[in-house]
């Protein structure tokens, strides 16, 4: 965004949120053989009017965190406070009412739109659920406003989702969220399913809408370039926890966490000059299984700055190093100051757990044959 909106108080506070999912297995009897620690103690704050970007690689728990915040999936522990209301105890009707104020934009615009509903009924449905369709006239007017806002022609109302292009569908998804006049929009990978040439349209739209309606965004994405472009502040997640949080500019300028550094250096830049010169911090190995996270610092198995002490045993907490810059690394200052040198990391190869589908902890397989279909 060109001009960051005025930064207000916290609209959303997440406090030590944990989301663990049991892994069930067994040929004859299902039993819980372990847990996937999808989100394992995340605390963050989203301020009114800002865009908070949550970035991380697949399996880091960012999507689960987003759904947990909206209570679409029940968290295991921790608190989510939205505008002063603790959502943890909220259930049933009050929770449903609360949903009006927190909306979601999904990754896949096609699958998130019911193929059997026209755009009109898609948009009206949420309004009806919250008694916002006061009358035929006013509803029609509201629909026109929404379409104009997301840049769709009013003829779109009678059409069905499959008749639109990917970018347009995402606009419909955004309009659906907007229809409820929410305060917070959680956008989960809002552009990653779109063609590159179309991504910019949606990114710009999101920015414009924020300016127009004073929205607060929580943007979840794996593409750091996109997140950095759109967000005021960014949280970097690794294996179920935040490792670094700061504003967008400082993140690029002075990343403090080794993981953030590696992540930034891994992103290719469409400029040969930059590419030819830059120094890459290549991480070895793969993301450990969230069902069996490493002890101590979750990153220590791959960290080029890992130290013999502390890293393996003591889990670093997020701590504020500079103003508004929090890092979960024992040695952040020393690394920044160059007191600790990078070293080789011998890859500790850990095969991924075959059945663990970290972000989809929903139904366990009914039998061995059913597992087959999960490829």
């Amino acid at each position: 965004m060109s001009e960051p909106a005025e930064r207000g108080d916290a609209l959303l506070t997440v406090d030590d949120l944990k989301m663990h999912f049991p892994i069930k297995r067994g040929v004859v009897l299902d039993r819980t053989v372990g847990y996937v620690y999808a989100v394992d103690g995340v605390s963050l704050e989203v301020r009114r009017g800002e865009t908070y970007g949550l970035v991380g690689e697949s399996g880091c728990g960012k999507t689960t965190l987003g759904r947990g915040i909206l209570k679409l999936v029940e968290p295991t522990a921790g608190r989510v406070v939205f505008d002063g209301t603790d959502l943890s105890g909220l259930r049933g009707e009050p929770l449903r009412r609360m949903r009006r104020r927190m909306q979601m934009v999904f990754q896949d615009p096609l699958s998130s739109l019911d193929p059997r509903q026209s755009v009109e009924s898609l948009l009206v449905e949420g309004m009806r659920a919250h008694d916002l369709d006061k009358g035929k006239e006013s509803t029609a007017k509201r629909l026109r406003e929404l379409l104009t806002a997301v840049g769709l022609p009013s003829t779109a109302l009678r059409k069905y989702p499959h008749e639109f292009s990917g970018g347009q569908r995402q606009r419909i998804g955004i309009a659906r969220a907007l229809a409820l006049e929410p305060d917070l929009i959680v956008a989960d990978e809002p552009v990653s399913a779109l063609d590159v040439s179309v991504q910019a349209q949606v990114i710009n739209l999101l920015e414009d809408l924020q300016a127009e309606f004073g929205l607060t965004y929580l943007v979840i994405a794996h593409d750091l370039a996109v997140v950095r472009h759109i967000s005021d502040r960014i949280g970097v997640m690794y294996l179920g926890a935040l490792v670094e949080e700061t504003d967008s500019d400082s993140l690029y300028a002075e990343p403090l966490h080794p993981y953030t550094k590696a992540l930034l250096s891994a992103i290719p830049v469409p400029d040969p000059l930059v590419e030819d010169e830059r120094e890459q911090i290549l991480l070895t190995g793969d993301l450990p299984s969230p069902a069996n996270p490493p002890s101590g610092c979750r990153f220590h198995t791959r960290c080029p700055w890992r130290q013999e002490t502390r890293c393996d045993t003591e889990r670093p907490q997020l701590r504020e190093i500079n103003a508004g810059h929090r890092v979960a690394c024992h040695w952040a200052e020393d690394i920044a100051a160059g007191r600790i040198a990078r070293h080789e990391v011998r890859p500790v190869y850990e095969p991924p757990d075959a059945d663990v589908i970290p972000d989809v902890p929903l139904i366990g397989p009914a039998s061995m044959t059913e597992v087959m279909d999960h490829h």
């Binding site: 949903r99 909306q103 739109l113 659920a129 989702p161 499959h162 009914a366 039998s367």
Partner: protein, 321 residues
């Protein structure tokens, strides 16, 4: 462990939740933008298998509707009884007014074949409707509520599924002291209930976790509304396909019950399966009494099977080619 039959049904259920355009991105064909149903219909319309099946079913339906008007005689009246002789094993031959002669009781065989279509259709449709209805109720209960309701319903369903279907139908058929067309329908239908229930529940569980249902939940749409406006309508595809196939199965099962002597005792209103079952004894001497109903059953069952299978193929993107 759920039986593999149950698993198979669950897998069928899976075809509804698959995303419609999971083709390779570069080969995006002309129908990549169409919805599941629309593109399925497009594929169906061009599928000769479907067309043949649809034509067969169409003719069968027309016949069933018009049969009472065309049929020259009452199928229950022993009009030609005087030409029947047990002693000489004679049945009335074709003659003016009775183009196919009479059956072993001297009833007009042509009229019986014609009206048989109506009764056969009734058996097929009623059995399917009852099976589907029961399955819908159970499946919706399980699929919508989940939790212990799901567990309970599915345990019942699993036990039912662990008995081979014809065995179950025969057992149910034997339960009635007086066998009528309705008991046959019921026996055939009850066997289908667990299949429908499991199928629907599987699909619903899949659809329940789909993005658009999540979206509806995020919108704050009420639970009932989510079930009936989103989950259920989007879960019906495989169930509809299955119903088409069950229409065929019902006709075949009814015939099997008759063969085992569990068909309707009263055959004044004819039904093909029953006619076939009862004609087995005369196969050597009067083969046409068996062959005609058998041929009609095969053709109609084939029609339903063709339509059902082509619908399944059309709905299953993996088979899209």
């Amino acid at each position: 462990m759920a039986s593999a039959r149950a698993t198979k049904i669950d897998r069928l259920a899976g075809l509804a939740v698959r995303s419609p355009d999971d083709q390779d991105p570069d080969g995006a064909g002309p129908d990549s933008g169409l919805s599941l149903a629309a593109s399925a219909w497009r594929r169906l319309r061009r599928n000769p298998v479907f067309i043949v099946g649809a034509v067969v079913i169409g003719l069968f339906l027309i016949l069933a509707v018009l049969a009472p008007l065309i049929a020259p005689h009452d199928p229950g009246l022993r009009l030609l009884e005087d030409q029947v002789s047990r002693a000489r094993n004679e049945i009335p031959p074709a003659q003016p007014g009775h183009p196919m002669g009479g059956d072993q009781f001297g009833r007009d065989f042509f009229s019986r074949m014609l009206l048989g279509s109506q009764q056969t259709l009734m058996v097929a449709v009623l059995a399917t409707v009852i099976g589907l209805g029961g399955g819908l109720v159970l499946g919706t209960l399980a699929g919508a509520f989940g939790g212990w309701v799901d567990t309970l319903v599915m345990r019942i369903v699993d036990v039912m599924l662990s008995i081979p279907s014809l065995l179950l139908a025969v057992s149910i058929g034997a339960l009635f002291s007086q066998q009528t067309q309705f008991t046959v329908i019921l026996a055939v239908a009850i066997v289908q209930i667990p299949i429908f229930a499991r199928l629907l529940r599987g699909t619903m569980l899949g659809v329940r976790e789909s993005d658009h249902v999540l979206a509806a939940r995020a919108l704050g749409v009420k639970g009932r509304s989510i079930v009936f406006r989103h989950i259920l309508p989007n879960s019906l595809g495989p169930v509809i396909v299955q119903s088409t196939l069950v229409l065929a199965i019902a006709i075949l099962d009814a015939a099997a019950l008759s063969f085992l002597g569990l068909g309707a005792a009263d055959d004044a209103t004819p039904e093909w399966g029953q006619m076939l079952g009862n004609a087995q004894d005369f196969f050597d001497s009067q083969p046409h009494l068996a062959i005609w109903p058998a041929a009609c059953i095969v053709v109609v069952a084939l029609g339903f099977t063709l339509v059902g299978e082509s619908m399944r193929e059309a709905l299953d993107p993996r088979q899209r080619r």
